[in-house]
């Protein structure tokens, strides 16, 4: 319990100084972005339209880079960048291209001091600045070798920060040879489960205990990937994938992840809509972990909305132990203000025990912010989040003011 109550106190700068430094950072530093489910829904396109990885995330396709303006609605705020005659397009040769995302994030953490009983109150607003975290949230570089155009590719997603160099994805991709627009992917790749947005770790930087919501509890953030095979089909509006990956190390079992969704476009009233379901089983000697969930989203012009609910369940192999499970939910609203500033509000919930009638261990987090693309290669984010959880865990009761600068290409 003591460790849970430990609150990092790296430094306590004044709030004004923090705001000033972050403001300067916002003005001076570049930032990057990744296409997200809200863009896919707004455009009525599958993940594979815009990402080399058929399941989304990482390097963007030639199509996405060609239509960056239509997809991101960016505004070139800097005339020097707008008027530049030569711009990098990522294509080194006809068969080799590179890309990258550099996300520099500053989080001002507001957190109350525990009382004599080691408890912190639930609040909407917190004024005590506990910590400032300025670090790369993500810094991957991508490389794509097109071995046979339209059919065979090799792809690398190498992360350089935080935490040193990590290969997030490395796979070969064969497509165009199977019926129903099928493909086969072999190597190390992200798990294709649910709606995966770029904000998966935005509010948990330097605090893993805040990764207790949909993405964190299902193990499907962009910091987690696994090695194995993926088979996918994309007939018509649907997308179906099955991944068989190594799973837990040191055992004989595997992880199976499936995802099925359909993207409907040009619908009456609403423009586009997505509906899908996911399932994951991770076997290990200690027991089996299951996650399954539903998700859906749609848009009304510039207003986009999406939600996901999941159930995770762990059944110990020892029959004397009781299985545990919990319920997770996530939802967000996006509105494209002035045709270029995406405004977002989100909420997420995690019931961290198997009993649906108790909420002592439950966590929730709400937030809102803006994330405009300020250029062909630049995006900024400014968000405020409010998290409340068990009162005995101070780290689960934080507010955060998060600023992110992203440079992407």
């Amino acid at each position: 319990m003591e460790s849970l109550l430990h609150v990092p106190h790296h430094r306590r700068p004044s709030f004004a100084l923090l705001l000033a430094s972050v403001g300067a950072l916002l003005l001076l530093a570049p930032e990057s972005s990744r296409a997200e489910p809200y863009m896919a829904i707004r455009e009525g396109r599958k993940c594979s339209s815009c990402h080399v990885n058929m399941g989304g995330a990482g390097m963007r396709t030639l199509l996405a880079n060609t239509h960056m303006q239509e997809i991101t609605h960016y505004r070139e705020l800097f005339p020097e960048l707008e008027n530049a005659t030569e711009k990098f397009n990522g294509q080194i040769t006809s068969f080799l291209s590179i890309g990258g995302n550099l996300r520099l994030t500053d989080s001002i953490v507001f957190q109350d001091e525990p009382d004599a009983q080691g408890r912190v109150p639930h609040k909407v607003l917190r004024g005590n600045v506990d910590e400032n975290v300025l670090d790369f949230r993500r810094a991957p570089l991508y490389a794509l070798v097109t071995l046979v155009p339209d059919y065979l590719e090799a792809y690398l997603d190498q992360s350089f920060a935080p935490g040193g160099t990590v290969t997030r994805e490395l796979f070969g991709l064969v497509k165009g040879l199977l019926p129903w627009k099928g493909y086969v992917k072999g190597g190390k790749f992200f798990l294709d489960y649910g709606l995966r947005g770029a904000d998966d770790t935005l509010f948990s930087q330097n605090n893993d205990t805040n990764e207790q919501f949909v993405r964190g509890r299902t193990g499907t953030t962009f910091n987690s990937s696994d090695t194995g095979l993926e088979l996918g089909f994309q007939p018509g509006p649907t997308n179906f994938t099955v991944q068989v990956t190594n799973g837990s190390s040191g055992d004989t079992d595997v992880r199976v992840t499936t995802n099925l969704y359909a993207m409907f476009t040009d619908l009456p009233v609403v423009e586009n809509a997505i509906a899908g379901l996911s399932f994951m089983r991770l076997g290990s000697d200690a027991g089996d972990f299951y996650a399954y969930g539903l998700y859906a989203g749609s848009n009304l012009g510039p207003l986009e909305y999406q939600a996901e609910v999941d159930w995770v369940h762990f059944g110990p192999s020892d029959s004397d132990q009781r299985s545990t499970g919990s319920f997770l939910a996530y939802g967000e609203l996006n509105y494209l203000l002035l045709d270029w500033i995406n405004c977002k509000a989100f909420g997420e919930y995690a019931d961290n025990d198997p009993n649906a009638n108790t909420t002592q261990s439950a966590q929730n987090r709400f937030g809102f912010g803006v994330e405009p693309f300020i250029g062909r290669f630049l995006q900024t984010r400014l968000f405020y989040s409010i998290a409340n959880g068990p009162k005995t865990r101070a780290l689960d009761n934080q507010n955060r003011l998060v600023m992110e600068l992203q440079l992407f290409f």
Binding site: L62, N89, I92, S94
Partner: protein
């Protein structure tokens, strides 16, 4: 005292025989496969990409196709070349070439295609009601030898004509911003209406297709054999309905990128060489003008632009000669 167990020698030899047998079978299989490779049928998992006209694009979204179209406008901006189809598909069908950093510039690539009939191979995609092939390899977009006699007006802002007597009415390089949110300085190469002072274009080869109406099936256009897929069921000319039969070239390669040198130069080859000569003459004049300007002092941007354009035209003509003549410029 028990005797020391000895492994019977036959076990070792048995294992060796088994190993030899497996190895022998493998070698025999490889040898037989090699011997029969020439006669063996190909594993036709993927059908030959169909040759389609712009009008049929909507039926082939997501497929790898050979799209044949006439290019009304070629724009180079932001490292990308946008080739827009001639009317009536000007706003509906296009080919985008992402120019690699190593190799020809987008400007040079654009000059190769304006006003010409091309075949582009790649996955056809739809974006905002527009059908397009996006590729990073300019070799996947080849000029097939026939050209537009007259271009429709440019779709984007009217290009600023360079005061130059181009050797052909084609490939008049101009500078105009592309109407995008990233209006970097762009190069738009369009097929001009032939100016009065411009030389008359070389006569279209006898086999060139009629562009206004579909030709009779009995006399379809005859594209260069090197560029016709062996199973091409479609006509060569873009505006021709896709159902019009086209004669197959017996020796045609199956790939749009394959080159098939012709035994003797044909009319199109001779015409390409003439155009190269004209481009070279213009290039010399442009170079001389640039030299004079450099001696006189700045600004020389216009002269430099002319040199770039003429060099690009020369490169484009050399590319055509490679395709249409003996395989080498």
């Amino acid at each position: 005292m028990n005797p020391v167990p000895v492994v019977p020698p036959f076990e070792t030899s048995s294992a060796a025989r088994l190993l030899a047998a497996v190895l022998g079978m493998w070698l025999a299989t490889v040898a037989a496969s090699s011997a029969a490779a020439d006669d063996a049928p190909r594993l036709e998992i993927v059908p030959e990409p169909p040759v389609i006209a712009p009008a049929d694009a909507a039926q082939h979204v997501g497929e790898v196709v050979v799209l044949e179209l006439s290019i009304a406008e070629a724009t180079a901006t932001g490292g990308r070349v946008v080739l827009r189809a001639a009317a009536p598909d000007l706003d509906r069908v296009r080919v985008v070439i992402v120019a690699p950093m190593i190799g020809e510039s987008a400007r040079q690539i654009a000059a190769r295609y304006a006003g010409r009939q091309v075949r582009a191979i790649g996955r056809l995609q739809e974006f905002d009601g527009r059908y397009e092939i996006v590729t990073a390899d300019a070799d996947r977009v080849v000029v097939v030898g026939t050209e537009l006699a007259q271009a429709p007006p440019a779709h984007s802002a009217p290009p600023v004509a360079i005061p130059d007597s181009e050797p052909t009415p084609h490939a008049a390089a101009t500078a105009s911003p592309e109407p995008t949110a990233s209006p970097a300085v762009a190069t738009t190469t369009v097929l001009d209406s032939a100016p009065a002072s411009a030389p008359v274009p070389a006569p279209v080869p006898a086999a060139a297709p009629e562009r206004a109406a579909a030709p009779e099936p009995a006399a379809p256009p005859e594209p260069p054999a090197a560029l016709v897929p062996a199973t091409a069921p479609e006509p060569a000319a873009a505006p021709v309905p896709a159902t019009t039969p086209v004669p197959e070239a017996a020796d045609a390669p199956t790939s749009i990128g394959a080159r098939q040198p012709e035994a003797t130069p044909n009319a199109a080859c001779r015409e390409a060489r003439q155009r190269w000569q004209s481009a070279a003459d213009t290039g010399r004049a442009a170079t001389a003008a640039l030299g004079a300007c450099l001696a006189a002092g700045p600004p020389c941007a216009d002269e430099l632009d002319r040199v770039r354009s003429t060099m690009a035209e020369i490169a484009a003509q050399e590319e055509r000669i490679r395709w249409l003549c003996d395989g080498s410029p």
